[in-house]
């Protein structure tokens, strides 16, 4: 299916693979094959000697990869008959639907709790200032960690214009969404513009969200504007996509 790699491609791939354990490479390959059904549920995986030959790695390395898949409940090893793919276990994740934002935020507020990590005047990051013209270089930062049953879901940094930030009543309620907070201040939101992407967890995010350094996180950047088109707030949310499902339905 895939053409054999050229020498250059092999060299490039060695460079890209630097720092990655051999077992992990096999683990990832098998993991992807199990995920997309290349190895169908209940069917047999190649035997250990076959995997050794196929990937030019030792038996110990193959076993490490299989051990990990077994621990994750994705394969079953049956003595004397081989290794089999186990059927998929669907995971329950909190689902956020951007096309139904008010309903989604209501669900988020009722099913999660949040903790305020920071509330102070801070410079607005360049990436958020670039979302629209008219965003001031400093703002009132409200940083919150949202959890579901004490498991961290998202780390959100919101920057409000200073005059709005000063109007927040103390103590600042932690649970309501930004839109609800603005609504209570008599500042209803008319439009939300989001850009979605991913980021590697830096030290702060890794610590707060309990993920390893560099782990992939969904990144939602958004700007909220009122009905005159003036920016009300900019925000960046880093989400664990293993716990939060983000969807959008677009009709054409």
């Amino acid at each position: 299916m895939r053409p054999p790699p050229t020498r250059d491609a092999r060299r490039a791939s060695r460079r890209l693979d630097m720092g990655v354990a051999r077992y992990y490479r096999l683990y990832e390959l098998l993991s992807a094959a199990l995920q997309d059904g290349t190895i169908a549920p209940e069917s047999a995986l190649p035997s250990e000697p076959e995997l050794c030959d196929l990937h030019g790695i030792s038996r110990t390395t193959v076993r490490r990869a299989l051990d990990r898949l077994e621990r994750e409940g994705r394969i079953a090893r049956r003595r004397g008959s081989g290794t089999y793919a186990r059927p998929h276990q669907p995971v329950q994740r909190l689902c956020l639907e951007l096309h139904a934002l008010p309903e989604t935020l209501t669900a988020l507020e009722s099913r999660t709790s949040a903790r305020i990590l920071r509330c102070n005047i801070a410079p607005v990051p360049a990436a958020l200032r670039a979302l629209a013209t008219g965003v001031a270089p400093t703002g009132y930062l409200l940083q919150r960690l949202r959890c579901s049953q004490s498991e961290p879901l998202s780390l959100t940094s919101t920057y409000l214009p200073e005059p709005i930030g000063r109007r927040l009543r103390r103590p600042i309620p932690s649970r309501p969404s930004l839109m609800t907070i603005l609504d209570h201040l008599g500042l209803p939101t008319a439009t939300v513009r989001c850009s979605l992407g991913v980021a590697a967890a830096d030290a702060d995010a890794a610590h707060a969200l309990e993920v390893p350094l560099g782990a992939p996180l969904l990144r939602v950047r958004a700007i909220l504007t009122d009905d005159s088109g003036a920016p009300q707030a900019v925000m960046e949310s880093l989400c664990r996509s293993d716990r939060l499902q983000l969807k959008v339905l677009q009709r054409i």
């Binding site: 951007l98 990436a127 609504d183 008319a190 980021a199 782990a215």
Partner: protein, 257 residues
């Protein structure tokens, strides 16, 4: 109980630090004359040893992305073109008029297969066989997305590899031209680690974050046209959504009901 995320092991600490610093450099967070954080600070912040920090910095230096000056610190170097500030190629690839001339594609697989179990599990009405298309799409010759698409047999039978190549790999656009116009797109977004295949296709380090967008396209009659699983380079692609809340007070009311 805290579950250990999948990314917990297998990727060394030095590579994790390298990925985080790479991203910060690509986003222009360290601009000369401001130095990068010092080695002791990186050790403290990330809870790793000096030699690990040095390995990550050595790799960035070897790639020409930082410069270490004795006695004064480590500095970001002018980035090569491909590592410049994140650029968003989504309009080039997804424009309603079709991909622009800057886009190109390379088809890796174009074959009829038995519908994979995961897809039948999610969409029982998909049908027993599917057309599998796997391709890498480029903008200005730089890889942007590694795409795997499944089309129901009835939809895919009218599509040829040549036709897809001629349209620069824009599957939904070609289907539209063949009379299967998309009426709704259901998208789901996730953050994943690049596996070796995706990493090689996209020129990323194994374990680096990739942006996963899964799209289910349906036509007017709610028939499935395609299930497309995309792995994007995060520095070259973002997805956008604008949500118009209309009269906000009315929205709030509706929500309370």
């Amino acid at each position: 109980m805290t579950t250990t995320p999948k990314s917990g092991a297998g990727v060394s600490r030095y590579l994790r630090l390298y990925i985080v610093l790479s991203q910060a450099l690509a986003e222009g967070r360290f601009r000369a004359p401001e130095p990068l954080p010092s080695e002791p600070r990186l050790m403290r912040e990330y809870g790793i040893s000096r030699s690990t920090v040095r390995r990550a910095l050595a790799r960035l230096e070897a790639e020409g992305r930082i410069e270490r000056k004795r006695g004064s610190g480590t500095f970001a170097r002018e980035q090569r073109r491909e590592a410049a500030a994140p650029r968003d190629f989504s309009p080039v690839l997804d424009a309603t008029a079709g991909p622009s001339a800057a886009a190109s594609s390379r088809t890796i697989a174009f074959e009829h297969i038995a519908t994979p179990a995961f897809l039948l599990g999610e969409q029982p009405g998909f049908g027993a066989t599917a057309l599998l298309i796997r391709q890498i799409r480029y903008v200005e010759r730089e890889p942007v997305v590694f795409e795997t698409a499944y089309l129901p047999e009835a939809i895919g039978s009218g599509l040829t590899r040549r036709r897809l190549d001629a349209d620069r790999g824009a599957i939904l656009k070609v289907l539209g031209a063949l009379g299967h116009r998309s009426a709704s797109l259901e998208r789901e977004f996730a953050a994943l680690e690049a596996d070796p295949v995706a990493a090689n296709s996209l020129g990323l380090a194994v374990g680096a974050p990739v942006f996963n967008v899964r799209t289910l396209a349906r036509d007017q009659r709610h028939r499935i046209l395609a299930y497309v699983n995309c792995l994007y380079r995060p520095d070259r692609y973002e997805a956008h959504a604008a949500i118009d809340l209309g009269d906000p007070r009315r929205c709030r009311k509706r929500e309370r009901r």
